[in-house]
Amino acid sequence: MALSGPVHTATLTDNCLVRNDWVCGEYIRTRREDITEALGQHVTITVLSVVIGFAVALVLAVLARRLGWLRGVILGTSTALYTLPSLALFSLLLPFTGITMTTVVIGLVLYSLTILVRGILTGLDAVPDDVREAAVGMGYDGLRLLRKVELPLAVPAIFASLRVATVSTVALTTVGMIVNHGGLGNLINRGLSSNFHAEVLTASVLCVVLALIADALLLGLQRWLTPWRRTVTA
């Protein structure tokens, strides 16, 4: 009988998983693979969406500057897109792209466009005319003017919008769980349906941390891209 005590406690371990604590180191130890996989999916979806969104936004912004009438159309459409709820947008794409990562990425690209097109336009509009004229006088034109003169000067405004777009994309990715591709959102959803406190809280906190890290990385990249501003902004 003297033995049964310790044996009993060993089989019915009293750890934070059993108690369903909000904060639980045991959860992270035992579900490490799950968490890494969800985190990987989250990062993949976010990076794909922001990169594609940025490329499309750049083209749209340059077009909007070339053709005046297009400007209102592009800005108006992207604002309207931004008002659409994410759950509904993913659902609208469902008949076309199905339960895939593509559905989530297309939705997130559309959302990022609103912010990015505005940011890029603001940046390009703010390039002083005399700078542009001086560059043209030196023989820069078309793409070379854009790449060598206008874009570098627009970097601060562009990166401000890029940071906003990235942070909100990280948060919005969680809703992708409706089509099983929500990264950390999948974990939140699973924890929600099994009333698993640690899973929901850990995934939520990771999501915010991921957003903050992405924001810091972009800020670092911006500093690196604009060495001439370092002393000014610091």
Partner: protein, 244 residues
């Protein structure tokens, strides 16, 4: 396009509109939850934002609260609140919506008050206006476009976010979409998504009209304001400035 047409025909079926889980009931739920959340968020955020802006203090808080709000996923807040004793009550959803409505209203109220022409404020002070008089008679009327921009942004966001309440089986139009997923009924999913999008666009349009109609300076200033400000996305424009 067949998917969309099926969704539309689901919407046009009168059977889907009646009953306790019909579109009609869900629409009413959606509107009241959003309306309550907007009112509560305004009641909390407007006084704080206006007062901080009037005093010119707490700018870091007022600006950063929007950035923090953006980084926190709504879905995570809904899930966490659902696991508290609040569980499935309507308050779970309303509290989450209020939390996400506060940042844009607070930030815009603050920025609006700070961007009021300093000359006008100085002139009013010189005429002997007291603090409250200055707030009511000068700063508030001049700041109205930006303040309403924040309310509009918050309202549109709240109406959109209310859809997510369906994930925790909460009230609102999102339930049509989630129950469609549950039954693998694509026409219902798409039909629900269409009505949700229509509602969001209608609310955005109405709020744009409201924003325009309450601006006491709209006649004199129409040409001068930046078009972005009228489109209700002043936050981003402002951050572009502060980030630069």
């Amino acid at each position: 396009m067949n998917g969309l047409l099926d969704g539309l025909s689901w919407l046009f079926d009168a059977d889907n509109w009646s009953g306790p889980t019909g579109v009609g009931t869900r629409l009413v739920e959606h509107l009241w939850i959003s309306g309550a959340a907007v009112l509560i968020a305004c009641a909390i955020a407007l006084p704080i934002g206006l007062w901080l802006g009037h005093l010119g203090r707490g700018g870091t808080l007022a600006i950063n609260i929007s950035n923090i709000g953006r980084a926190v996923p709504t879905f995570a807040i809904l899930a966490l609140l659902y696991m508290t004793p609040l569980a499935l009550s309507a308050w779970t959803t309303i509290i989450a919506l209020v939390l996400f409505g506060i940042p844009p209203i607070l930030t815009n109220a603050y920025v609006g008050m700070r961007e009021v022409d300093r000359d006008a404020v100085e002139a009013a002070r010189g005429m002997g206006m007291s603090g409250p008089q200055l707030l009511r008679g000068v700063e508030l009327p001049l700041a109205i476009p930006l303040i309403m921009g924040g309310v509009r942004l918050a309202t549109v966001q709240i109406v959109a976010t209310a859809t997510l309440a369906a994930i925790i089986s909460g009230p609102g139009l999102g339930r049509i979409i989630t129950s469609g997923f549950g039954r693998q009924d694509t026409p219902q999913i798409v039909g629900g998504a269409i009505i949700v999008c229509l509602l969001a666009l209608v609310v955005e349009g109405l709020m744009a009209l409201l924003q325009r109609s309450v601006d006491p300076m709209r006649r004199t200033r129409r040409r001068r304001t930046r078009s972005d400000r009228d489109r209700g996305m002043p936050l981003i424009a402002d951050e572009v400035v502060s980030g630069a």
